[in-house]
Point group: none
Chain length 207, copies 4
Amino acid sequence: MSTADTPSASAGRKRADVRRNEQKLLDAAAAVFVRMGIDAPVREIAAESGLGMGTIYRHFPTRADLVVAVFRHQVDALAAAVDAAPTAGTPYEVLRQWVHRFADFLVTKHGLAEALHSDQAGFESLHNEFVERLMPVLDQLLKASAAAGYTRSDIRAYDFMLAVGNLCIGVENFPDYQARRMIDLLLAGLAQTAPASTGEEPEQRRP
Amino acid sequence: MSTADTPSASAGRKRADVRRNEQKLLDAAAAVFVRMGIDAPVREIAAESGLGMGTIYRHFPTRADLVVAVFRHQVDALAAAVDAAPTAGTPYEVLRQWVHRFADFLVTKHGLAEALHSDQAGFESLHNEFVERLMPVLDQLLKASAAAGYTRSDIRAYDFMLAVGNLCIGVENFPDYQARRMIDLLLAGLAQTAPASTGEEPEQRRP
Amino acid sequence: MSTADTPSASAGRKRADVRRNEQKLLDAAAAVFVRMGIDAPVREIAAESGLGMGTIYRHFPTRADLVVAVFRHQVDALAAAVDAAPTAGTPYEVLRQWVHRFADFLVTKHGLAEALHSDQAGFESLHNEFVERLMPVLDQLLKASAAAGYTRSDIRAYDFMLAVGNLCIGVENFPDYQARRMIDLLLAGLAQTAPASTGEEPEQRRP
Amino acid sequence: MSTADTPSASAGRKRADVRRNEQKLLDAAAAVFVRMGIDAPVREIAAESGLGMGTIYRHFPTRADLVVAVFRHQVDALAAAVDAAPTAGTPYEVLRQWVHRFADFLVTKHGLAEALHSDQAGFESLHNEFVERLMPVLDQLLKASAAAGYTRSDIRAYDFMLAVGNLCIGVENFPDYQARRMIDLLLAGLAQTAPASTGEEPEQRRP
DNA sequence: AATGAATGAGGTTTCATTCAT
DNA sequence: AATGAATGAAACCTCATTCAT
């Protein structure tokens, strides 16, 4: 009666603990992933989190579950970013900014870009998660830009997304590699639409 | 001059055996790398080659040594290709063809593109090998194309090489991913030189 | 007199709950034992019962306690069977029927016969339970049959009980094994008493 | 030439070592099986043998392989025993002696009798090994005894063998259990053939 | 009294690497 | 020089059991 669904002191407390532990795990995993890559030993994550190994298995039966969970937040944010942005510029510029934000995300998570394309069994779900959440967003951006005549319309969001992801690989291991420039190059290639054919487009593109 | 380094009859014979074994190992490793990836168990390679594991370690103390050796031949061929090619087209076309040949090479070697950017200790030498052998070639091609006005001149061969390599990652695991189109996009970005600023360039570019 | 030990209304209610839970546990355990054997994970039983694991430990601190409790009912029934039976035949026939009923019991409980002779620490109590409850019964049957001249009198109930139990082992894993025939063989061996000592017995035995 | 197939010093030595190690493993496993049962940790056996765990897996990939190997010798001896014995008595007596020797074997190997009927995956091979090697022998003994009129002819060697094996279970855990007497009881049951038909047999049986 | 999250010992298995022959 | 047996560290995963709520 009284305890309806108000998180009562006792029931609520327990749930809070559990959630806190899950957060600890996610934080620890994120840290360890940065330090040792996505294949880090479970024990390492357990140690980092201060929790037991069994707890990890309870929360995330599969390594992929953990990886997906670790990054879900940021993937969500990324997916939401496109709506939040107050259309700061041309569709092409919006696209460009989002792509770089995507790259930011990948680059700051050591091993994430690599894991995205891993052939390791069990990482399909990670790949899928990204594709399902982000590809629609990117697709929308690409279509808008193409519709406005800024970019080619024959590039698939899937390919483009993976390509950007791939270009981020190795940034940390080879500090001399300038992934950003390559991403810009790819974006430039996108912009190089069948240009001078009519001559009107340029004005359209650069008003 | 040529045979000068043949020691004695017996020693020479030995050397032939050794060299034959080395070749066996390289062939076996190449086959296994295709089958199981670049991280295949040493024992697997030993079995494939018909030789003992100890022999592998004698010849190639480090896994990277073996990997480098396995691909050196093809790297050499790639490096030589640029001279051999009878300038079949514009510098940009030559560049384009070489880049795709490079991609061919990476894509057909399961796991090679990945290994190139691996952070696994011991794979720097593989990276270095590629950089040392191929970057000069690519640099030359880029410079030629830029000098002829086809492409931007502010792109470093190092970045471009790694970028192309990166774009090849995942081809086998995600068959839907069309790496070639993305490589072409990158090349297109390269071509999109500082464009309509003067208006003369276009003629220069497509004579 | 009878309800004298009911404490207070509230406490009594509690007790009812507790008893109900205990029954749930016993039912669940019985089901799980059949499904997964006597060593089934505690969690499995908890899940089956709808109760928590801690509750199991409260009621049955030791696995053996649970096992014993699960089967106590049927052990009791078996112990009682001898009185209930309206002496349907010769003492030997009564003995034989009881032995087969005992075998029925063991065979239908997956893993019970095995557990009875397990060296796993903690199963002594199971063994003891069986010995304490059933051996007296069997002893009585054996003595009656021997006294009537049907069977040897030099066989201990303890040995015989364990032997019958043992003969039931493997019935499920090796469907070709015909435990019943072997039990009958054992019973036949029992009947082969030191024969013609007096001369009257034989007629009595095989009329 | 000279090294034909004579176990040369170098080649022969290695092989000898390997064999010696295998023997060490078998001895160690036998000891550990006695001490801790047939499910003893691999590490324990490794420790006992003074060899590494990997060596065990090399020699005996499966636990069952090891178990079978440990007991093969004695199984062989048991299988051979029937021929070696200089027919010391009636067929029934020969049968009886062999059965007891079989029991000796099982009883002295802690956990063997249990393992023979284990439902643990992977022990089928142990069961099979026993059945294949020993059942024919027992079958022959049973048939001989039956043919000479000493015993019933309707008992299958398979059942009888398993029964004897079963009766040995628990000898060590329950020192009060007299398995031998039960085996004799089973044998007695076997002998109690449809006797009184002629009346001569009894004399024949107990001269 | 009940719950079930957390713990971590314990067992398994794989493979890179060494080294005696 | 070649061999491959041996080693053992590492990683995985499962549950019995405890204990805070």
